[in-house]
């Protein structure tokens, strides 16, 4: 039989570059690979010998979409290594800047990268010709998130104000007041966004993921908590290596992660939501139910609704934090470096971002390890791809290609954190 080769030069509307390969023999899908060849930038090696104070600025550059996540995981790891905890209003300000990143990043993905898939447009600009108000509202939402990061961090991409121990400068109450007004409008826009995406046509598709996320005693998680999973895992973040492993595969410059005894797992909005539904405010839970979600959602296509729900949550949380804000006496608590190892794990918009640093007595980095969310999701994205493609093998190349691309975009992969262009090639006789 002749070989049918189908190729997409790169999967668009994802951050970064990688490739997809499907191999089909005798009408059966025999392998699916998410090939990642983003040129390695070698951050973990470049961090060696750098002072702890430089770490938050350097790791921010791993990702222009979620720099706050890298900064937050790093400062928590540094403080843990030196035996400090940052509490009170400084802790609140960290949650607040993280709210900004979730709002901005999720609004970008929901409205500009993901929604066009459900409505049949190649991009948000062309979608705007028919849904102009929706896009303008989504841009306003994204802008609100960015404004929050800008006031607290100085700028929305690679903020300058985060440091180990706290911040360089903390805002006055009066600086936050105008943002509260913006966020109240943003919350309303986000509720509309939830209702809009809830009406999209969703494929009937579920996967039995093992979800992994942080879980905090009282809060929907941002910076702190234990690492838990839907299969009963419940560990301190320092025990990550005992339960998880990273391995290198020849087809990717991003290391694959797996749970030692069970393999693939999923981090990100679906996991956070399923493992922390009870931590959402009553109003947000009600909105989720109205949008047709139960307390657990296993359909990755519906992750667009979960992201929109998390935007509403982040707006609510930010408004509460601003209402309770009193400027702390010091912008940063003083830290005394000591030799040791520190761990940080926080909830980036795309899922847990785990860091481990070893410091010398002066607080210089001896070794660094960073496990970004997208590299953890690689095996699950490959498994999704397999399931989606297997169910569509009788379809035309065009349909198959579109479904495969969509199955990857469901997870909002940030390939730059780990990876390059997604090129899809399907080989079949």
């Amino acid at each position: 039989m002749p070989t049918r080769t189908l190729r997409v030069d790169y999967l668009a509307r994802v951050e970064g570059e990688g490739a997809l390969e499907l191999r089909i023999e005798d009408g059966r899908l025999v392998s699916t690979r998410l090939r990642i060849f983003e040129p390695p930038r070698l951050f973990e090696a470049l961090l060696r010998g750098r002072a702890c104070a430089e770490v938050p600025d350097i790791v921010a550059r791993i990702c222009g979409i979620c720099p706050v996540a890298y900064q937050m995981s790093a400062v928590h790891a540094i403080e843990r290594a030196f035996g400090h905890r940052v509490e009170g209003q400084l802790r609140s300000l960290r949650r607040l800047i993280y709210c900004g990143e979730w709002i901005g990043s999720h609004a970008l993905h929901v409205a500009m990268l993901h929604a066009p898939d459900f409505l049949g447009y190649p991009d948000a600009i062309r979608m705007a010709r028919d849904h102009g108000d929706i896009l303008r509202n989504a841009l306003a939402l994204k802008k609100a998130g960015n404004e929050l990061i800008r006031v607290l961090g100085g700028r929305e991409i690679h903020p300058v104000n985060v440091r180990p121990g706290g911040f360089f400068r903390v805002p006055a109450r009066a600086e936050l007041a105008p943002i509260a007004q913006t966020l109240e409008r943003a919350r309303d826009l986000a509720v509309h966004l939830v209702r809009w995406v809830a009406g999209f046509p969703f494929p009937d598709f579920e996967r039995d993921y093992e979800f992994v996320a942080l879980r905090h005693p009282h809060e929907y998680p941002f910076n702190e908590g234990r690492l838990v999973s839907s299969a009963g895992l419940d560990i301190d973040i320092a025990d990550f290596d005992r339960e998880f492993e990273e391995r290198q595969v020849p087809h990717s410059t991003a290391l694959h992660a797996g749970i030692r005894s069970r393999g693939a797992y999923l981090v990100g909005p679906l996991a956070r939501y399923a493992l922390n539904f009870d931590r959402l405010p009553v109003s947000v839970k009600a909105l989720a139910r109205e949008a047709g979600l139960g307390p657990v959602c296993r359909n990755p296509f519906r992750s667009i609704i979960v992201r929109a729900i998390e935007i509403v949550y982040a707006c609510e949380e930010a408004l509460g934090l601003i209402a309770a804000y009193e400027p702390p006496e010091v912008a940063a608590v003083p830290l005394t470096p000591r030799a040791g190892i520190g761990f940080g794990c926080t909830e980036a918009p795309r899922g847990i971002c785990w860091h481990r640093y070893e410091f010398d007595a002066d607080g210089n980095v001896l070794t660094a390890r960073i496990v970004p969310p997208t590299s953890q999701n690689q095996p699950s994205m490959e498994a999704d791809l397999g399931a989606v493609a297997s169910a569509a093998l009788d379809q035309s190349d065009e349909v198959l290609r579109e479904r495969c691309e969509r199955s990857i975009r469901n997870h909002d992969p940030c390939i730059s954190c780990s990876t390059h262009f997604l090129r899809l090639s399907v080989l079949r006789p």
């Binding site: 668009a12 070698l42 090696a45 470049l46 222009g64 600009i125 100085g154 690679h158």
Partner: protein, 250 residues
């Protein structure tokens, strides 16, 4: 027929932040999309149209043999080529490899280094092809990005000043942090961020790269007088624009 100028956005080794700056122009994005045909912007659109392009915005540095070839093709397809950000303009943070052994660095990150194909250096776009304008910053300033696009549309030179961050501090009325004892790279650093760090009570860390006439030895002395160890000054220069000529210690 669509007669608008055709825009393409390209990515090499980078964090995606500079191309995100275009999508971060929330108030102007739809106007930009009216004035230009966004012909190729894979991060934002799956409709990718073939070249040639009137304006190419290039993010990222060259770190693989494949990318060294790819940038030549981008140049061939582009009437104007503008680099955006510290990676494309100075090699970025990944150019720290230029001062170390690439083999050791790769072995520190990957258990099987033999699978990794990468060059020993990270180089700016201008080291490979002719560049029409370099917009600095890690990340770029989106207002400056709009100025560059606007200047291109009007057929004029972008109004982007090459003086130091110090001028921006004076203009916004920020009291110099160095006179308060905080080491700052502002006197060496290219303007463009709006002097953010001093406004947040920290010293500039040089993410916009060298200004037009940087005097490295003079600032080294000043840092020494403030009690900053020489190693700290060296680290400060060796960050996001480490490979830029103006940040070398002669």
């Amino acid at each position: 027929m669509d007669r608008r100028p055709r825009l393409a956005v390209w990515k090499f080794a980078s964090c995606d932040g500079c191309q995100l700056s275009l999508l971060d122009c929330e108030d102007e994005l739809l106007a930009v999309a009216d004035a230009l045909e966004i012909a190729s912007f894979p991060e934002a659109s799956s409709a990718v149209a073939a070249g040639p392009y009137d304006l190419s915005l290039v993010e990222g540095s060259i770190t693989t043999a494949h990318d060294a070839e790819r940038i030549r093709e981008v140049r061939r397809q582009s009437r104007h080529l503008v680099t955006i950000g510290a990676c494309a303009t100075a090699g970025g943070v990944q150019a720290l490899r230029n001062f170390a052994s690439i083999g050791e660095l790769v072995a520190a990150v990957y258990p099987s280094p033999q699978y990794i194909e990468t060059l020993a250096t990270s180089t700016p776009i201008a080291a490979h092809v002719a560049v029409d304008f370099e917009l600095r910053g890690c990340p770029i300033n989106k207002t400056q990005l709009l100025e560059v696009i606007g200047a291109f549309l009007a057929g004029r030179k972008p109004a982007v000043a090459a003086y130091s961050v110090c001028i921006e501090c004076k203009r916004r009325g920020t009291v110099c942090v160095m006179v308060q004892g905080v080491p700052c790279l502002g006197p060496l650093t290219h303007a463009g961020c709006g002097a953010l760090c001093p406004a947040y009570r920290r010293g500039c860390y040089g993410c916009y790269g060298p200004m037009e006439t940087p005097n490295v030895p003079a600032l080294a002395q000043r840092w020494q007088a403030l009690g900053a160890p020489a190693k700290r000054f060296e680290h400060a220069l060796r960050s996001f624009n480490a490979a830029a000529q103006g940040f070398q210690r002669e």
